[in-house]
Symmetry: C2
Subunit: 305 residues, 2 copies
């Protein structure tokens, strides 16, 4: 029993004439004849009464035809689903973002994606890189926004932008005098750091080798966020390092904080998109990339690939 057989069946039920039904199916009369006979044999049921005068459907035949029509209808739905799903910009996209990007990127990203792909709702999750990677590989996420380096088997990454680091200090801090801060000087101040697991923490520590072994004055704030740290800096609890997108928009509205760039070579992080090599909706990824690049993130430099 094939779908073709069922199509022949309902055609014959409608036409009540083997020749006409065959014509309607674009096959020869013997083809349809054989197919119906095969079906009847397979089901061990007489579906039609053939006579010279005409073709009559049996009682059981009528019931089976009705069911066959249902099958064909449902099968047709498959094609419709496929057509509807063919557009990579239709259907939800599961997006993961690390904690130190989400709050600054998403407010810009979401409306832009919605504008470019209205029928692609975003299901967003913020988490650590490691967790995002896990979810991505498991298929719980489709695309993630992370900082490089990010190497995972089966995962491809595409750099999107570079983002310089900034030093954030309370207004009136001594370093306010300087237009730019040397990285090494970080070890001299009480540096507030994110908890373990945040890649940004590691990157900051990388900037300041002296802070590495915990020999500096830095203080780790487990379970915290850049926003929390920012508030703590404003209260004079110390200084911190922020990515430019988090730091640069601040000073205007906040008289308690001062932002200074690093001295060259300016430390920065490279933000990238990552997805499974096998992920088929590349069009959706392009939209995300474009939306990110279209977002007014302060201080960032697009990476032309």
């Amino acid at each position: 029993m094939t779908l073709t057989d069922l199509r022949y069946l309902v055609a014959l039920a409608r036409e009540r004439h083997f020749g006409h039904a065959a014509e309607r199916c674009n096959v020869s009369q013997p083809t349809l004849s054989v197919a119906i006979k095969k079906l009847e044999d397979e089901l061990a049921v007489t579906l039609f009464e053939r006579s010279a005068a005409d073709v009559k459907i049996t009682d059981i035949g009528a019931r089976i035809v009705a069911q066959a029509e249902k099958v064909l209808l449902e099968a047709g739905q498959i094609k419709e689903l496929a057509t509807a799903g063919r557009d990579p910009l239709s259907g939800p996209l599961k997006l993961g973002v690390i904690y130190t990007i989400g709050p600054y990127l998403l407010p810009h990203l979401i409306p832009r994606v919605h504008g470019a792909a209205p029928s692609m709702p975003l299901l967003i999750q913020e988490n650590y890189t490691a967790r995002l990677a896990e979810s991505l590989k498991r298929g719980d996420l489709d695309v993630i926004v992370v900082a490089l380096p990010f190497e995972e088997p089966g995962i491809v990454t595409q750099a999107v932008y570079d983002e310089p680091f900034r030093v954030l200090m309370p207004a009136g801090h001594a370093w306010e005098e300087d237009a730019a801060i040397p990285a090494a000087r970080l070890a001299e101040a009480p540096l507030l750091l994110l908890g373990a697991g945040n890649c940004f923490r590691d990157q900051v520590l990388e900037v300041c080798p002296l802070c590495r072994g915990g020999e500096g004055l830095q203080r780790t704030l487990e379970g915290s966020s850049l926003e929390t740290i920012r508030h703590m800096v404003a209260t004079g609890a110390g200084i911190t390092v922020l990515p430019s997108s988090a730091a640069d928009p601040l000073p205007e509205g906040n008289p308690l904080l001062t932002v200074r760039p690093f001295e060259a070579p300016e430390p920065f992080r490279r933000i990238a998109l990552a997805w499974r090599v096998t992920y088929p909706r590349s069009g959706a990824i392009d939209v995300i990339r474009a939306a990110i690049l279209g977002s007014p993130l302060q201080g960032v430099r697009p990476v032309t690939r």
Copy 2:
């Protein structure tokens, strides 16, 4: 897209492993592999993300698999319907009976059929032979009970029983003296006849050639029935001829009527079943025949074929 393809599809969706899914479908891994690829090409949609680690279903893939399961379920229903409909004794049987048999046969027939084939309800229609034949050929009826001769293209008949005719007269009638009535004498009495269209009317006229041209005292009662005529005979309006099944049960309970057989050669009618040559439920016909022969119809002689 075939039902087999869909089976492969749902198997792969369940197993998430080409080899295992193929095994479950009793085919080789390449078979399933190409089938899925073919499906993906046909639908122009990626259903699965293949990677070394494992097979992930895409979003659209999952929706299509769900739909495929629905299709397979509905298709399975076809087999179930066929199995259920395989029994010729299941499902309603559309039975037609001529007016002059129905009232005497059906009260016996119905319980017997119900006993022999409980899941075969009878849809009964009483009518003239010509109307029954029409309905039978059109497929509105499956089997009819008629009097022979009955010749129709595409219709087969099977004699069931012979039924002698009887003369019915009011009690106290002059002919009461005689044990049997010669057919020719019918022309001498006011003979009450059914209306045109009733085959029994023609058969009675056949018995009495003198009545033929309307030269006798007979009176035609259009739109009447044997029961009506019987009541008229009881009131002394005339005599009539009845089939034995209608006549013989009468006298016991009715002091106003007298029944006499004909003289030899006793006129009779041959009752038969008729159905389309193509009608597939021969088992149902056998049940009807057996139920008729099992009915206590007075005076009838089974026809051994």
